[in-house]
Each structure stands twice: as structure tokens, then as C-alpha cells.
């Protein structure tokens, strides 16, 4: 795994990508072994950092997160080789690859670290590396701004984590994760505070709804293969952190489960609504990541409710669904970001309303994107359906018999997830339909071209993954066994028994899926047979009697989403700038819509404006006179001395 370090700093794409791939392959093997056997592998090295110890461990939970991280890192790296070729000659690609490898390394150590100091260092490494990756095109103003928003947001989150770790350290007198997991915090007061700190700290990275501001800024700014990595796996380190933190905090009170489900519903619902209102493809995907983080959080909430009420079936289905969705989202969101990268690469724009008809020019990308779109909408026969099935099943199972305090949040989850599913279909039929189908809406599409094979191959592998996870759903869910055992401390027998409750309906789902595919094949044959000796003509689309159609008359993304964005207008705050047609022979008319992020507009901007004002007062201290600086130092030293001798 440490192969990475030795070879990264070379100015050559293949070396960078190759080292990531090698690291991924060599990392995946032990991870797979750990998952299979439920064993734990440790490495402890002495370290001179105070309170720090170089202590890494690979347990099933880490392994479960590590696998998609490494796979997506490798695939995105291969993709990056082709994607960054456009910049070759214009810019040194060395730094980009260096930081890419650092990011992968940082993520790996976040997942493996078992010492708080090491964890925080890895966390920072990950944040800094991704910051430099986001600002790859730093000559653009918007990219720099996005980078700073990301930088500030992620450090605010880290501040909360620092407090979280310090408090835990004070409670237990150690910085060791294994000690924390054994001793834990058994008293309610501190546990509640720590839970909130962890939710805010890790939630900032994961993108829980009011804390998500950096996501829609940073993802569009980064190069596409980096967006795929950040959105597919980096934000999941927040989920991992939260799960790890929960193992320290003892038996959760009921309201934690309520809280996570509420967070999940807000993130999920608002995430998909904002995604629907976007017309920048990458922003759309970024908001959709917020949505899926919400769905994962709902699963965790169900699991927590199960732990609180001592109901193993909820634990297994909730955590299991959430964890599986982590992997699924890594696959299809990675796929979609790579697909958008290919669109951007080929056509030069990611404005949905300027695209159209790309399927004819980029058939491979389109097919892969279609699979990603169906999967992300949570529809059979693809993987998104499987994890959402588990979460739904958990909610229904729990709702059957429990009292109101558990059943109410579960049924709210059912209603909310159903709405989110419906809206996701709207969102991704829009994304796929407007971009790839119909007639080209602008010049951009005219010179669009299919991506080269280094870019196509990762997309196809990810698409295949989406299909395979559904077809082998029972096996995949079965492999969650060791993770659930080590994470929840349930007896293997209990886990087995309750996983069976998930696996047996899933095998029916697989049967249904297989029947669906068989029926589809039969229908294809039937149609071919029917049309064999018939007239098959082509003509223009039926224009309902209108003779002079132009591509500009097509429905656009904005008009497609308009009924829903209007209905949820109070939540979205979409602004419209309309100049309606006037007079008998109207010359021109225009409509512009934009949906600014409400939490950015209403909370962060005013708060940071105030902070900026306040801090600029401090600038008076800095005026460039060396003598005065010396004075500051002297005053500080004397003050410290006085403090010490007091």
C-alpha cells in the first residue's frame, strides 16, 4: 500500500495512475480477506508525535469502506489519464497527480487510523489534497472561490472533530480508538454532546443538508475524475467517521435515531429538489450526492433505532441498507460524474439546456450514463434498488409491531423516501433525456465526440458493477455479515438469522429481475419477428400540425422541471427573470431561472460577512513596521512568562 509514496512525484500521467491502480489492487486483496473472514489486521509503530501512535488496523468496517474507495480511485485514475490529456502541454500535470495520490493515501489512512492524532492528520491530508485538486483550474475566478468555500467549510468541520476527540480523550485518558471502543462513554450527558459534535463534524464532510454548502461549489469546479472520487467516496469518509464514532458512544438514546432520520429526510428531500432545479450538470450531481448521503443517513437512523430498542432486525436491515448504499452510490455517482466529464470533454459545456442529441455522437457514454441514471433513481434491475429495498424493508418490518415512538419516524421515512424516489426519477429522466436525446440545442454538440477508451473503460466497468450488484444481491448482502458483527457487537447467530430475513426476499427480487430480463429478451425477439417483412420508415417527428419546427422549440431542462420547482417554490426560492413577449409582433423574449442555495444565501453569507467585518479590524495590527512586530513578540513572551509564574 505504501508503494504510492515512492513513485508519486513524477510528471507523467501513466505513473500517477499506475501507482494508484497498483495500490488499489494490493489494498483490495487484504480488504477482501478481512471482509470474508471477519478477522482484524493490525500494525503498530512507535511514533514521536505527542499522544500519537502510528496505529493502523483493518477491520471489516474499514474494509467495507476501503474497497469502493480503492476501486473508484483506480478507475478514476485511469479515466484521468485521458481526461487530463486536454491540458497536456499547457500545464504541468505533475502536481495534479501528486495531490491525487495524496488524496487516495489520505482517504486510506482515514479509514485505517486507530489513533486520534493519526486520524486527524490523515483527515487534514485528505482535505488539503482535495483542496488543491479542486483548484486545478485556478486561473478561473469561480474555481478559486469554490476552493475557498470548500477550504473554510471543511476546516470548520475539523474544528468540531478536534473538540470531539479532545473530549473523548479526556473522558477515557487515551487517544486510542480500540480503548475508546472498549471503555466508551457510558454516561448520557457527555454522550449526547459527543454525538452532536460528531454529527456536525463528520456531517460537514458528508454534506448533511445545512452543512452541505461546499458540495455544489467544489464538485463542479474540480476536474471530473476528481469530482467522481470526491463525490463517490471522499464524502463517505464522513459517514465512516460517524459510524466509527457511534461505536465509542455506548447504547444510543432513542432521539439519536430520530435525529439521523430527520437529517436524512431533510438532506434527501431538499437535496433532490435542488438537484431538480439545477441546469448545470455537475451541480445537479453534487446536489444529488447530498440526497444520497441523506438516504444513507436514514439507513443509519433505522439501525440506531434498532440498537436503542434492542431489535436486531432493524439493526441489520438499517445499517446493512445504509452500508450497501455507500458502495452503490460510489459506483453510480462515480459513473455519472465520469459520464459528465466525457460530455464536458466532448462538447465543452455542462449547461444542460445547451446540449441534446448526444446519444448519436457518444453512444458508449450515453449507455453508461443511462445505466447510472436508472440505478441512481433506485429502480430495478440495478443496484440502487437493492439498498433502498433494504432500508424500506427495515422501516416496514419495524413499523409493523412497534409503538408510536419507533413507528412514527419509520413511517415518515417510508413517505419521505417514496417522495424522494419519485423526484429522483424526474431529476434523472431530465438529466439523461435532455442531454442525450432529442435534437442538438446549440453549436456545442455539433463537434462533440466520443471519449477515448481510457475514459470509456472505467465507465463501462462501473456500469457493469451496477448491474452485477443487483444480480448477485443476496451474496453481496451476505458479505455484510462480518461488518455488522464487528460494528454492532451482535452475536453471529443473531446477525445470520436477521440477514436471512433480508436475503430471502432479495433472492425473489433477483428472480424477478431475471424474469424481467428474460421477458425483455423475448419481446425483443418478438418485435424483430413482427417487423421482419414489414415497412419500417423514418420521417420527421410528429409536430402536431406545425410545419416549421426548430430544435430550439424542444422542451428544455428548465421547462421540464418547472411544475415541480413551482410546487416546491417556497422551499427552493427559485428566482425567475422574465422578459415576456410584447406587442403584436414580439421581437424577443427571455426567461432566466436560477436557484441559489438557501443555506448559503440565508445563513453563511451574512454570518461570514459579519465575521469578515469583525476580523478586518485586526488588520490594523498588521502594518509592515518591523519594530512593532518585535514589540508584539516581546509583549507576548512577557505575558506568557507572567502567566507561568503567577
Amino acid at each position: 500500500m505504501v508503494l504510492l509514496l515512492s513513485r508519486v512525484d513524477r510528471d507523467f500521467s501513466w505513473v500517477g495512475a499506475g501507482s494508484v491502480v497498483i495500490a488499489a489492487v494490493s489494498g483490495c486483496l487484504p480488504a477482501f480477506g478481512v471482509l470474508l473472514h471477519g478477522s482484524v489486521e493490525q500494525l503498530r509503530l512507535p511514533w514521536s508525535v505527542p499522544f500519537g501512535e502510528f496505529f493502523i488496523e483493518l477491520d471489516p468496517l474499514s474494509a467495507w469502506f476501503l474497497m469502493p474507495t480503492l476501486v473508484l480511485s483506480a478507475l478514476s485514475a485511469i479515466y484521468g489519464v485521458g481526461y487530463l490529456r486536454a491540458w497536456q502541454g499547457r500545464r504541468s500535470l505533475g502536481p495534479s497527480w501528486f495531490f491525487y495520490c495524496l488524496l487516495v493515501l489520505g482517504m486510506m489512512f482515514v479509514l485505517l487510523a486507530r489513533n486520534a492524532v493519526l486520524f486527524l492528520m490523515a483527515w487534514e491530508l485528505m482535505a488539503l489534497a482535495s483542496f488543491f485538486l479542486v483548484t486545478f483550474e485556478h486561473e478561473r475566478e469561480s474555481v478559486r472561490k469554490a476552493g475557498w468555500i470548500y477550504f473554510v467549510a471543511t476546516h470548520l468541520g475539523t474544528a468540531f472533530l478536534l473538540v470531539f476527540f479532545l473530549l473523548l480523550g479526556r473522558e477515557t485518558g487515551s487517544m486510542d480508538f480500540t480503548v475508546w471502543a472498549e471503555k466508551g462513554v457510558r454516561t448520557h450527558g457527555p454522550a449526547n454532546v459527543l454525538f452532536l459534535l460528531a454529527v456536525i463534524g463528520f456531517g460537514t464532510k458528508a454534506g448533511f443538508m445545512p452543512l452541505h454548502v461546499w458540495l455544489p461549489e467544489a464538485h463542479p469546479a474540480a476536474p471530473s475524475h476528481v469530482s467522481a472520487l470526491m463525490s463517490g467516496v471522499m464524502i463517505k469518509t464522513g459517514i465512516y467517521g460517524l459510524l466509527r464514532a457511534l461505536t465509542f458512544l455506548g447504547v444510543p438514546p432513542l432521539w439519536w435515531g430520530w435525529g439521523l432520520i430527520a437529517i436524512g429526510l431533510t438532506s434527501g428531500g431538499l437535496g433532490v429538489l435542488f438537484a431538480l432545479a439545477q441546469h448545470d450538470l455537475k451541480r445537479l450531481l453534487a446536489y444529488s450526492s447530498v440526497e444520497h448521503i441523506g438516504i444513507i443517513t436514514m439507513g443509519l437512523g433505522v439501525g440506531l433505532l434498532g440498537v436503542s430498542t434492542d431489535s436486531p432486525v432493524l439493526v441489520v436491515l438499517g445499517f446493512g441498507g445504509g452500508l450497501l448504499h455507500v458502495v452503490n452510490h460510489a459506483l453510480f455517482k462515480g459513473l455519472l460524474f465520469l459520464g459528465v466529464g466525457a460530455v464536458l470533454h466532448g462538447s465543452g459545456t455542462r449547461e444542460i439546456d445547451h446540449l441534446g442529441g448526444l446519444l448519436k455522437r457518444m453512444p458508449w457514454t450515453a449507455a453508461a450514463f443511462l445505466i447510472g441514471a436508472v440505478a441512481i433513481s433506485g429502480l430495478p434491475p440495478l443496484n440502487g434498488f437493492v439498498s433502498e429495498f433494504l432500508i424500506f424493508l427495515g422501516a416496514f418490518q419495524g413499523g409493523v409491531s412497534t409503538g408510536g415512538a419507533v413507528a412514527v419516524p419509520l413511517f415518515m421515512l417510508v413517505a419521505g423516501l417514496a417522495l424522494i424516489g419519485g423526484l429522483a426519477v424526474a431529476c434523472f429522466t431530465k438529466a439523461f433525456g435532455i442531454v442525450f436525446l432529442g435534437e442538438p440545442r446549440s453549436e456545442h454538440v455539433a463537434h462533440a465526440h466520443e471519449a477515448e477508451w481510457t475514459m470509456r473503460l472505467p465507465m463501462l466497468i462501473l456500469a457493469a458493477g451496477c448491474i452485477l450488484i443487483c444480480l448477485f444481491a443476496p451474496v453481496v448482502v451476505g458479505s455484510l455479515k462480518t461488518v455488522l458483527e464487528s460494528m454492532t457487537g451482535l452475536q453471529p447467530l443473531v446477525v445470520d438469522e436477521n440477514l436471512a430475513a433480508a436475503i430471502s426476499p432479495l433472492s425473489f427480487v433477483v428472480l424477478g429481475t431475471a424474469l424481467f430480463l428474460a421477458l425483455l429478451a423475448a419481446l425483443v425477439l418478438l418485435r424483430r419477428h413482427l417487423l421482419e417483412h414489414r415497412r419500417v420508415e423514418t420521417d420527421v417527428t410528429w409536430r402536431c400540425g406545425y410545419a416549421q419546427p426548430t430544435p430550439r422549440m424542444q422542451y428544455t431542462a428548465s421547462s421540464f422541471a418547472q411544475p415541480l420547482t413551482d410546487l416546491f417554490g417556497p422551499l427552493l426560492g427559485t428566482r425567475k427573470i422574465i422578459s415576456p413577449p410584447r406587442g403584436l409582433f414580439p421581437a424577443e423574449a427571455a426567461l432566466k431561472t436560477m436557484t441559489p442555495d438557501f443555506s448559503h444565501e440565508a445563513v453563511y453569507r451574512p454570518v461570514f460577512g459579519r465575521v469578515h467585518e469583525w476580523l478586518s479590524q485586526l488588520q490594523r495590527l498588521q502594518h509592515g513596521k518591523v519594530q512593532l512586530y518585535v514589540l508584539y513578540i516581546a509583549v507576548t513572551l512577557i505575558a506568557l512568562l507572567v502567566w507561568e509564574l503567577r
Partner: protein
């Protein structure tokens, strides 16, 4: 069973009121609600049916089902206003708020220390719900007619409460409340008529121009 049915219908009519955009249909819904509630005491006290329950039922049905709607329709016709409700809070938001209020009513209903002594545990929650909806209609709608309706719905809630909880005294209590409601509707009906004559509209939010 029958009381449950009636109470569920009352809940539904309340939701319908929240989502209704026409004044005319709102009036009809409130009338229907009144008639259903009029029948309620007979069903609740089916074993001890007496003249005074019958009288109460007949009185309520006549007043709420016939007299009030007639007065309100008359006010509507005389005022010749447009038939739209003109909400401050949109219909869909209103329905969602209504659902939240319903959940709250059930939660509160389970905790209020009142023993209905009846199997119909729906009585208290639906009474509370009617009161909430009435209040909401008064607050969140512009039209004076709608505020009268809100007032009536609230009165219906109190009435439901009375039927379930105050098993002994309903006649007197109800009579008092009914009288109040009658006077109120009468006064407001006249007021609407006169406001309209003076100012050519009956939007409550413009009444603030009257202050000195």
C-alpha cells in the same frame, strides 16, 4: 363504529376545508360537518336515548345544517364577492400543516388526562383537530366569510369535546355555545353585509384602514 366513522369524516372534512379554494364549497362542507356532528350525541349515548338528546340533535342539525349555511350564502350573495378563498398560506402547505396538526392532536389526545369512558378514543383527538383547524382558518385566510367558517369549525371542535367528555351537562353547555355561535354568525353576517356596502369589499386585511 358509527361514531368512529363520523369522526373520521369530520377529520376529512377539516382537511378538505384546508385544501378548498371555493367559498361556496367551504360553506357546504362546514354545513355537512355540522349535520354529522348533530347526529353524534344520539350515537354516543345510544343506550340512554332521551328526549333531550333528540332535541339537542334536532336543534344542532337545524341550526348548523340549514340556518348557518343559509345566512352565509346570503351574505356571500349580497356581498357579491368573488368566490375564491384567497389564502395567506397556500392550499398544499395548509394540508401539510393540517396533517401535522392531526398527528399532534392524536399525540395530545393520548396524553390529556380526560377519561371519555367510551371506546371511541377518536373523540378527543378529532375535537382537538377541529379546534386547531378552526384557528388556522381564522388566521390564514383573508375572507371574512372564511373566518366565520373557521369560527364554526372551532365551535364544532368544542362541541365534539363536550359530547365526549361532559356526559352529564351537554345540554346546557351546548345550548350556551350554540347561542353564542348563532349570535356570532348573525352579527358577522350583518357585519359582512355592511362592510361590503361601505367599502365594496370584505377583505379583513383592509380593515386596518379604519383605525384613526
Amino acid at each position: 363504529m358509527m361514531t368512529d366513522l363520523i369522526l373520521v369524516l369530520v377529520v376529512l372534512t377539516n382537511l378538505k376545508l384546508l385544501g378548498s379554494s371555493r367559498l361556496g364549497s367551504s360553506i357546504r362542507v362546514v354545513a355537512a360537518q355540522g349535520v354529522m356532528l348533530g347526529l353524534l350525541p344520539i350515537l354516543v349515548h345510544v343506550h340512554e336515548l332521551s328526549l333531550h338528546f333528540a332535541a339537542l340533535a334536532a336543534g344542532t342539525v337545524a341550526l348548523k345544517g340549514v340556518v348557518f349555511p343559509w345566512l352565509l350564502f346570503r351574505a356571500l350573495r349580497e356581498a357579491e364577492v368573488t368566490r375564491e378563498v384567497e389564502p395567506y398560506v397556500g392550499y398544499i402547505t395548509s394540508i401539510l400543516i393540517g396533517l401535522a396538526a392531526l398527528a399532534t392532536s392524536f399525540w395530545l389526545g393520548g396524553r390529556l388526562p380526560v377519561s371519555t369512558g367510551e371506546p371511541a378514543s377518536l373523540l378527543v383527538p378529532s375535537a382537538l383537530f377541529s379546534i386547531f383547524v378552526g384557528l388556522f382558518l381564522i388566521v390564514a385566510r383573508k375572507r371574512a366569510v372564511n373566518q366565520v367558517l373557521g369560527f364554526l369549525v372551532m365551535e364544532n371542535g368544542i362541541y365534539t369535546f363536550g359530547v365526549g367528555v361532559v356526559a352529564e351537562l351537554p345540554f346546557l353547555v351546548e345550548l350556551g355555545v350554540l347561542l353564542d355561535a348563532f349570535v356570532a354568525v348573525f352579527v358577522m353576517g350583518i357585519a359582512i353585509y355592511h362592510i361590503n356596502r361601505e367599502f365594496d369589499h370584505i377583505e379583513v386585511n383592509r380593515l386596518d384602514q379604519l383605525k384613526g
